[in-house]
Symmetry: C2
Subunit: 401 residues, 2 copies
């Protein structure tokens, strides 16, 4: 049994980010940038007005002064002359400030009569003018590679005049459930069997992490059928199995895939839930073998598959992000296996998080996991803790997990 | 000018959740459940073993006892006899515990020789047995309506034997940018014009909130062209415009759509950035008119469009979730408009959040918004605050915004 951190490091060391593809910005939300994005223009392109009003010379903008309105410049229709002393130009938010003008008189501070405007509030030089390049200059770095693109990022890339963006190809992840006892939801269930829930939960997790899941048909506990999986994973970036990584007599996955070239790196981790976790490589395809228990499978997926998908996607990859919380109830001392306790979260009067572990932590209880807000991390041999003690938790509500 | 809360309440009051559609669970991630999901079976269906080992009678499981192995029951292949006194059944995690047995002897606590097994550690009654229905019983409520389905939820629905799930139809949101001065990224830019960034930032935000964006072509500041939009929004759940809601002479949207039946509810809000925000209805289609400034547009979208999409999607809708933070730098007193200051977030030694407003808060600076982690909320007339004071912030890193 190897420690959690070592297992994660060994999995990550076996992976590389996918290469780039070009997508329209309309399809780039939650994709990961694969190249720097530089501004193709200066924004704003020229000095523009921040308000509706009149452009004029600050020297003319004294209280009570009356100026001649030389014209009007709606946004997108710049007035290309040079403003003379004693003149004002009607303009609007985003309008280009004409040569000769150096301030903006707000329309609420002006009285317009015909072709004349009277100053009702003195305006100081530079006021309400957005300078050319105030947001960014042509050539500025707008987006570094390796960024998960959010709505604001896509706005910024668009503003930099890019209709396309280079992103990492979505990792293709084959998902395989094995076992004579499992059936797809809605299909006939064998005697003593159960419905397969892991594949579609894992597929959703792959989607949540930006990957493209490929759910393979369920494979029975049959050597030849398992061996055939080696042909089904051609072109995949990762193979994820659930079940079959344990030490029971009927866990055939390692043996059968071994005959097709599976090289096993490790297959037991000092953690709970989920001791049997396998890592290896099937030909060109890295493989992570998750436990068959639904809770163990999902918790191991959060600890190992999520960072693996981050790595494949071109994101910084490491342990899932944790936050600090205080215990809402005491915890017993832990044994030699790192534990990941299903817990509810609440907020105390000071705005701090309070995590309370559920009484039942059995790894078969999917409903408890679905109702959990967080996993409390417990290191191997961690001592007993009182209510109020500080712990690190993984928040499950983030990222659609 | 009406307050932010009243504006949000009036927008939400004009909306209803979309009706339901049926999707396969493979496509249900981040959809919103539209009906209760009840378990179609009991899980586990019968008493099953939690470990690999032997089923036997606790009365027989005394240290050193030797039992006859009556058979083997892999998961999915239950042994249907009744275990007699002095007998043991080989089984594995998930195997059905046979009638007559009431405990599990772990395989590491047993020595097997041929058809006999010797007890190396006494086993107590009920140990390592998962009872039928421990996770859930047939008929149990697995999922309430109005839940944003995450990976764990989809696992639970699958485990309840549902291949399909009823979800709210994705809201269809038409997005319209108007203005002579704007061009799509990559298209020729008119003199004094800028690239349109709002439409695709808003489309990404709609996607982040579970909607289907429909980006309409840019409409010039032309009365007839704007009037034609009324025909383009047929069947939409919401129309979102950017620009044209201000009071400038060249903001034609209200006037032109008014001629096509636009009924305006309100069009100014006491907030910054983004005073000009319009709400109304164009025929059957509710409408939100966002300001044209990229930052104002996105901030208003977070405050009003996000709750609107939650409501349309069948989720609980209200103000965006806020968390508490301490100020990393002082803030000046606020004026009569609610402010939403772009800020960075850090974590202090106690794990608490520290929010520091950027020095430049101009509503044209999209790069500052893209680099922000949060918006600090400032109520109208809020007093000046010192470093360390407590504030509420909207975290922008959540949900891909």
């Amino acid at each position: 049994m190897i420690p959690v951190e070592e297992a994660r490091a060994r999995i990550l060391a076996s992976l590389s980010p996918t290469t780039a593809e070009i997508v329209p910005i309309a399809a780039a939300w939650r994709r990961v940038s694969a190249a720097p994005v530089h501004a193709r223009l200066t924004q704003p392109p020229r000095d523009v007005s921040a308000m509706d009003g009149y452009a004029l010379r600050a020297a003319d903008a004294t209280l009570g002064a009356t100026l001649r309105v030389a014209g009007s410049a709606p946004a997108g229709h710049p007035w290309e002359g040079t403003l003379a002393p004693g003149e004002a130009l009607r303009l609007f938010t985003g309008s280009v400030v004409p040569d000769g003008a150096d301030t903006i008189l707000l329309q609420e501070d002006a009285t317009r009569e015909g072709e004349q405007v009277t100053v009702r509030e003195a305006a100081s030089r530079g006021r309400h003018i957005r300078r050319a390049g105030q947001d960014f200059a042509a050539g500025a770095l707008l987006m570094a590679p390796g960024k998960l693109l959010n709505a604001r990022d896509i706005g910024l890339i668009a503003a930099g005049n890019h209709p396309w963006v280079a992103v990492h190809r979505r990792p293709r992840v084959a998902i395989l459930a094995t076992g004579d006892e499992i059936a797809l939801p809605g299909d006939p269930i064998p005697a003593g069997g159960i419905v397969s829930s892991n594949s579609h939960a894992l597929a959703s997790l792959v989607r949540a992490c930006g990957g493209d899941p490929v759910v393979l048909p369920i494979v029975a506990d049959d050597r030849a059928a398992i061996m055939a999986v080696a042909d089904a994973v051609h072109g995949m970036d990762l193979l994820v199995t659930s079940g079959g990584a344990s030490v029971g007599d009927h866990d055939l996955v390692q043996e059968a895939l071994g005959a097709r070239g599976l090289v096993v790196d490790f297959w037991q981790i000092a953690m709970r839930p989920g001791k049997p976790l396998m890592h290896g490589r099937l030909g060109d395809v890295p493989m992570v073998g998750l436990p068959g228990n639904p809770v163990s499978s999902l918790v191991c997926a959060i600890l190992f598959l999520l960072p693996a998908l981050h790595c494949l996607s071109g994101l910084p990859a490491g342990a899932p992000r944790t936050v600090q919380a205080r215990l809402g109830a005491p915890l017993a001392a832990n044994d030699r296996r790192a534990d990941h306790m299903r817990a509810s979260l609440a907020t105390d009067d000071d705005g701090g998080l309070v995590a309370t572990a559920f009484a039942r932590q059995d790894s078969s209880m999917l409903r408890v996991l679905a109702g959990a807000d967080a996993l409390i991390l417990r290191a191997p041999h961690a001592p007993a803790l009182e209510t109020g003690a500080s712990v690190r938790v993984i928040r499950l509500d983030a990222l659609g997990l």
